[in-house]
Every structure is written in structure tokens, then in C-alpha cells.
Amino acid sequence: MDRFRDKIIPVTTLLAGLVVLWYVFAVIMNAPVQRDMDRRAGEDPRFSEFIGKTLAQAKPTLPAPHQVATNFFENTFTRKITSNRSLVYHAWVTLSSTLLGFAFGTVLGILIAVGIVHFIALDRSLMPWIIASQTIPILAIAPMVVVVFAAIGVTGLLPKALISTYLSFFPVAVGMVKGLRSPEILYLDLMHTYNASASQTFWKLRVPASVPYLFASMKVAVAASLVGAIVAELPTGAVAGIGAKLLAGAYYSQTIDIWSALVAGSVVAVLLVTLVGVAGRIVERSMGGRPA
């Protein structure tokens, strides 16, 4: 009952408001084109008819919510998932490179963090480069990566995954540096009184203490991985994937397709972030976390 009052009502209200706003803007933005089309056809529709037509264009400037919903539903549930028109198929293509890139990125981020925490030289030298790496627009890097790899005969999943890696290692590295350094002096003193070795302190203290930080940064990293995978599909002339679907939609002004591909992308993002969150809660529970 509390959940209903505290969560469902506010979320639904906000959502309904957004949908109404979306319809209003759809009418406003599609009206000029519709007026133009009507004039050329010599028609003079009544106001309510005119509104209906602005929300039913084949290539609207801003598709109405129900158009996107219908398109999304058809392309998700009524197509065979092997079909080139199935959003499930495209989402899977993007998802597979997202997951591979995310796995690489997480491992790389953890390794960098361990290096930074344990070697003063790395601490001083690596961080500026890592931060600089994130200031380069991914759209500038992606085509180069793809071209370079294609030149040495590597195409397909790997170049795309590497672009996801490029985006996702950063939050993990930053979060894990903070996590591995999170134990207070008191705990380090305690380990010192036991004459614990550096590796014992690492495995028994720093690693467990960093787990909450790991999952928090993995949530950011998995979303970044998805963005990386989609962006990687844009310049590569990929034939499949959510990015390819966006690009094809843009070529042929299939605005409804673009929007439903965007919806598919956000559904995947929500699923991924939720999955990481659930995994984090399970691990925290098994580590004796206080139930919230």
C-alpha cells in the first residue's frame, strides 16, 4: 500500500503529464507540414480533423506517442527475432557488444585502480592520462578504431566492444580507486598490528571494502557501454544493431523508426542497470549488509 502511494502514483502522474506534453508538441511541430500538405491537396479540414492528421503522418517531424508505441510493439513482438526488422534482433546485436565491452572495461578499470593504489608512480602518472582520455569525443575516436582494426582484418564484434570498453573503464577505475582507499586508518592500523602482508591487507580489507563502490561504478559503466556500442555502430556502416537502425531511420526520414529504436535502446539500458543493481544487492546481502 505504501509502495502504491509512495512510488506508483507519483511516477504514473509524471508519466501521464509527459505524454500529454508530448502530444501537444507533436501537434505543434507537425502542424506546418500538415498545413502545407492540405493546401496542396486543396483540402480545408476542420480543427479536430486537422489535429488527428498531425498525429497520423507517415514521416512526422515529431511522432506521436501512440505511433512510436505501435511501431515498437510491432517490431518487437510480431516479427520473428531473426528478421532484420525485429527490434529484438537489433537490440541483441547491440547488447552483445555492450556486454563484451562492459566486461573488458570492468576488468581494465579494476586493474588500473589496483595499479594506482599500489604504485605511487602509477598514481602520479596515470590519472591525468585517464581523465584526458575521457575528454576526447567518442564520435571522433570510433571511426578510427574501426578503420584501424578493419585494416588488420578484425571486424564485427570486437572493434565495437572496444569502444564500449573505452567508455566504461573510466567510471570503474575512478570508483575502485576510491573504494580500495576507503578503509579508515583504524582498520589499516589493525592489520598492521597483525603484521599482515600487503596482499593480505588487499584481499581481506581493501577488496571487500571496495565492493559497494564497484557496483555503484558498474551501474554508470554499463550505461556508458551501451552508449559506446550504439555510437560504434553509427560510423561503421553496421547493418545491424540499434545504432544501425537509428542511422537507417535518419537516411530515410523514418522518424517513427528512429524513435522506436531509441525506446528499444532505453529499455535495454534500464534492463542492464537494473541487472547490475540486483547483482549488487545480492552480493551485499551475502556480505552481511543490513537490509534496507
Binding site: L186, L190, T193, N195, P208, M287, G288
Partner: protein, 264 residues
């Protein structure tokens, strides 16, 4: 340094420690001469900044002295630490929140490479000793503050060091819990015959627990008085109303007053 007496556990002579801070040097310890024998219960009492905690940390090799000498069982603090000669109890329980109580007690044993079976036996024995049997599988947050501190004492006892260093272990607890734990600590000391160094800023606590009370004062941190307790080893809680107890407490209070400058 004169040869350590066979019964001497800690021998400090002319011990000094000066911290270099941005406001200039701070003399945390100055000319501390002290010898602590086996099986003694020695309390260190004094206002904050008197160096009582610093002295304990020097024994534990958590701070390095800048002058004088100190030996623990005839070894340097570093050697003593490497030989795991002492257990240290901090003011905060410092239990690892992701470990159950039994696994917290197991932590030093794991680090010292003690076998699984032996660990099990020792966990049972030490948790019995601090009256925490039945709480093995609980996580720290499921225990009260007093129970957490008892678990941390169990952890310090688990590897059977003969020396126990306790830095205001009951300072953060309320008086009722503190009385109870003081009683238990005395019992535990009686059962194990360990040497205990105990830092506190409570006069009744110091007098009730100790065989010897070291009164310290700040700026520079130094020992101003060492009081031998005349109380018997067996001490019920109501001994604290006896004239003998009150006399010792009065002497400690005088010592604190004499060493403390009230002009600031």
C-alpha cells in the same frame, strides 16, 4: 640499557616522541621511564594530549619514538609486532562489517596462518571468554555497542598473545555497560594471567581495574606519578565504595591536578 628482568614485559627508558607538525614540533612524549612486569594490569590516565595513547602506539609499533629506548619482551617494538607479541583493542570496535562475529575473530588467525580446525577451537574458546557464545553467525550491526567491543576483545585474545594493549576500549559506551565490561575484563584477566596496558580517562575505571596507575600530563606528554594499588586482586563492584578505593582515587585526582596547568 640494563638487561631486562626476566619478569619484565615492557621496559621504557628516556623515551621521547616529537611530532613535526606545521605549527612546529609537538612533544607527545618526553623522558618516559617505565617498566611493566608480567601479569600486571597497568592503567594510563591523563587529560587529552598527555601522550597516553601515543605511548600505547609506540609499544605497538604504530609510532616510532624519536629518542630513548623501549623493549617488549626484550625485543624492539617492530620485532615484537612481527612476533605477534600483543593484541590491540582500539576505542572503536573496528569489526569488519562484511564478516560475521566468528569470522571477525578468525581474521588474525587467518593472517597468521592457523589451520581451520585450530581456528574453530580458538574462536569457541575466546567467544566463551567474553560471553558471546551463540552470536557466532551474527553480523556486527546486529550487536549492541558493548557486545561489539567484547567481540573486538575476543579478536585480540584469539591468537594468545601474552600482552593486551587497550586504548580506551570502553570510552564510547554508557556507564552501565562500562561497569559490566570492567567486571568481565577483571575476570578475564584473572583467568588468563595476561599483562594488560589500559588507557582511560576515567578515574574510577583506572582504580577499579589496575594493579598500577600511571598518571600522565600534557605539554610535553610525561609521567607525573605512578601509583601502586593496594586493592586485592579479587574485586567485587562494590569495592568502589570502600575507603581504600576512595583513597587511591583521591591520589590519582591529586596527581592529575598537580600535573595539569589550569592557567590556560
Amino acid at each position: 640499557m640494563q638487561p631486562a628482568h626476566s619478569n619484565t614485559v615492557i621496559e621504557a627508558s628516556k623515551l621521547g616522541l616529537t611530532f613535526q607538525t606545521s605549527d612546529g614540533p609537538v612533544r607527545a612524549l618526553s623522558d618516559v621511564d617505565l617498566s611493566i612486569g608480567k601479569g600486571e594490569f597497568v592503567s594510563f590516565i591523563g587529560p587529552s594530549g598527555c601522550g597516553k595513547t601515543t605511548f600505547l602506539r609506540v609499544i605497538a609499533d604504530l609510532e616510532r619514538p624519536t629518542s630513548g629506548s623501549i623493549s617488549i619482551n626484550g625485543m624492539s617494538p617492530q620485532q615484537a609486532r612481527e612476533a605477534r607479541a600483543y593484541g590491540y583493542v582500539f576505542q572503536a570496535a573496528a569489526l569488519f562489517p562484511w564478516r560475521t562475529i566468528e569470522n571477525n575473530v578468525a581474521l588474525p588467525l587467518e593472517i597468521m596462518g592457523i589451520s581451520r580446525d585450530e581456528r574453530k577451537a580458538r574462536i569457541k574458546r575466546t567467544l566463551d571468554l567474553v560471553n558471546l557464545s551463540g552470536f557466532e553467525k551474527k553480523y556486527p550491526w546486529q550487536l549492541s555497542g558493548g557486545m561489539q567491543q567484547r567481540a573486538s576483545i575476543a579478536r585480540a585474545l584469539a591468537f594468545d598473545a601474552d600482552l593486551l594493549l587497550m586504548d580506551e576500549p570502553f570510552g564510547a559506551l554508557d556507564e552501565i555497560v562500562r561497569d559490566h565490561l570492567n567486571e568481565q575484563l577483571l575476570k578475564l584477566w584473572g583467568q588468563t594471567n595476561k599483562t594488560i596496558c589500559f588507557v582511560t580517562h576515567s578515574i574510577p575505571e583506572a582504580v577499579y581495574l589496575s594493579t598500577r596507575i600511571v598518571v600522565m600530563s600534557p605539554r610535553p606528554g610525561r609521567v607525573t606519578d605512578v601509583i601502586e594499588s593496594t586493592l586485592p586482586r579479587e574485586r567485587p563492584l562494590d569495592i568502589r565504595e570502600s575507603p581504600e578505593f576512595l583513597a587511591i582515587a583521591a591520589r590519582v585526582r591529586d596527581g592529575l591536578r598537580a600535573g595539569h596547568s589550569y592557567d590556560d
